[in-house]
């Protein structure tokens, strides 16, 4: 298991300079997530347009590099997508981080999200990578 596979440059860069890391005042949904095991906290805001498009997504997080980078990459990836497309992407992402999807083969569908593929070899860190996506599902009314 290589650390380089987990801590790819893109992850470290998103950790240091997260995109969409801001509060949103005109959000249509806000979700607070807390991992009691490690104390990580994340708040996600989304603005869903009348046509069901995710017009905006932002977050604030206190946590590890994996959870912050994942939230940064996720908010960037889902903006402009329909609700159904965003949920579908989330399903693909879940397959990626649980090792059911090959990062190289999934590059076309997942884009830069594949940088988190290395997490599949670190089972204790799958939760960190998934936290933002759990919040998104909840924000889109698909928790469960």
């Amino acid at each position: 298991m290589s650390l380089d596979a987990l801590y790819q440059e893109i992850i470290l860069e998103h950790n240091r300079r997260p995109r969409n890391s801001r509060e949103m005042t005109d959000a249509t949904a806000r979700v607070d997530q807390h991992n009691p095991l490690c104390g990580d906290e994340l708040t996600l805001w989304v603005r869903l347009g009348d046509d069901g498009t995710l017009d905006d997504a932002s977050f604030k997080a206190s946590g590890c590099a994996i959870s912050r980078a994942s939230a940064s990459l996720m908010t960037s990836a889902v903006k402009g997508k329909s609700r159904a497309e965003a949920l579908e992407l989330g399903e693909k992402f879940r397959e990626l981080v649980t090792g059911k999807l090959d990062p190289v083969a999934a590059k076309g569908e997942l884009g830069s999200l594949v940088a988190l593929g290395g997490v599949s070899r670190f089972p204790q860190r799958v939760k960190c990578a998934s936290m933002a996506w759990h919040a998104l599902r909840e924000a889109l009314g698909d928790a469960g």
Partner: protein, 402 residues
């Protein structure tokens, strides 16, 4: 140097492992594992009941284990050692049995900001159930109980002061006797969480002036699932039973029952004989090294580890100076979250804890969401310290290399 590692089968079976999470649970020496197996292979029966020799032998071995463990913690009257699953159950026992019968609305329960959740939440819930108030003693910026403030908090409404012998998150060694004295001066009970005390420091319950002291076997080379509550006879006799069932009764009538003598009154059901025997063997093992020597060994490694980490730019160490800590090194590395640090160290075979260490009130007071914690024990070596320092340096390199 690694001679003592040879006593621990897990360390022998994992040669490259640098186990630095002994504050969470210790590894077990062969002597402990052998003692438990030996009991099951030679003497196992349900104690206190059978009218046959084997059961009498199991009873005797259980009793002998209690006497041995009582001796280890400096408790002369071994009937005042109640076996529990561990510290958590022991503290819940006191909070529930004593608190349930004695705490009134308007009373005050004092805990400290340094506590593990196991010595915080039971008192918080007792206060809520009884309409009492929970007062939380502040901690100093270097992670000590603020004694002046503590003394100022105590008064005639104070019924109990619950505090730790040693902080699990920072390693702070607290002045037990002084706190006990202050509690007694206002007529309050002094209850101490000794989970991190018994593994690392010589303990003499009879000399500490406490009303009760809780501890866990698995942090002191013993098995998981056994620990105890040492208490004064006066406290134990004044408390109603905690759980009801076999072993703890004397006469069971249709309408009412009477209770067995100490310590059985608090040990309902078939006891955990094998683990008690394992814990007694752990006491024997630790006494074979000598608790003063255990302390010396840990302190030397702690000092080296702290010097090595502080030589890395961006490392902050929490808690008081090394001489006032047990073998715990709680730290952060700027720009690297403790979980990332733990993953990177894990890849090099170094096991540390990352997070809030079951001490969320303390972490809020220190204003850090999480720390990394390395903790040392009798089998820790200088190689472990070197691997820790190298791993932290590697983490820094990974996170600054882009």
């Amino acid at each position: 140097m690694s001679a003592r590692r040879e006593d621990f089968p897990l360390l022998v079976n994992n040669p490259g492992l640098h186990y630095l999470d002994s504050a969470a649970t210790s590894q077990k020496p062969r002597a402990v594992l052998d003692a438990m197996r030996d009991y099951y292979e030679r003497d196992n029966a349900n104690p206190h009941r059978g009218a046959y020799d084997l059961s009498a032998r199991a009873t005797e071995r259980y009793h002998d284990a209690r006497v041995r463990i009582a001796k280890f913690i400096g408790l002369q009257d071994s009937d005042c050692l109640v076996f529990t699953r561990g510290t958590t159950e022991a503290l819940n026992l006191v909070a529930t049995a004593w608190g349930g019968a004695n705490v009134q609305p308007g009373d005050e329960i004092v805990v400290t900001g340094l506590e593990h959740h196991a010595n915080f939440v039971p008192w918080q819930q007792l206060a809520r159930a009884k309409g009492a108030s929970l007062r939380i003693c502040p901690v100093t910026t270097d992670g000590r109980i603020d004694l002046e403030q503590l003394k100022g908090m105590l008064g005639e409404r104070t019924r109990v002061v619950a505090f730790s012998h040693v902080s699990n998150a920072l390693g702070t060694i607290n002045p037990v006797t002084e706190i006990a004295r202050a509690a007694h001066a206002v007529g309050a009970l002094a209850i101490c969480d000794g989970a991190q005390g018994t593994p690392h420091l010589p303990v003499s319950f009879d000399a500490l002036g406490l009303d009760a002291y809780a501890f866990s076997g698995h942090k002191m080379c013993g098995p998981m699932g056994i620990g105890g509550l040492a208490a004064t006879r006066a406290l134990l006799e004044s408390m109603p039973p905690y759980q009801f069932g076999g072993d703890m009764i004397e006469i069971v009538g249709d309408e009412r029952s009477t209770w067995n003598a100490l310590p059985h009154k608090f040990e309902a059901g078939t006891p955990n004989v094998a683990d008690a025997i394992g814990l007694a063997a752990a006491c024997e093992y630790l006494d074979g090294i000598g608790m003063a020597q255990v302390r010396t060994h840990e302190l030397a490694l702690l000092g080296r580890a702290q010097d090595a980490l502080l030589a890395i730019d961006g490392v902050t160490v929490y808690g008081p100076g090394v001489n006032d800590r047990s073998g715990v090194l709680s730290f952060t590395l700027e720009g690297v979250h403790p979980h990332d640090l733990a993953t990177i160290l894990d890849q090099q075979g170094v096991c540390i804890r990352a997070g809030h260490h079951c001490a969320q009130p303390l972490m809020r007071r220190l204003a850090v969401p999480a720390t990394a914690r390395a903790s040392f024990y009798v089998y820790s070596t200088e190689e472990d310290v070197a691997a820790l320092a190298a791993g932290v340096a590697r983490a820094k390199e990974i996170f600054s290399n882009f």
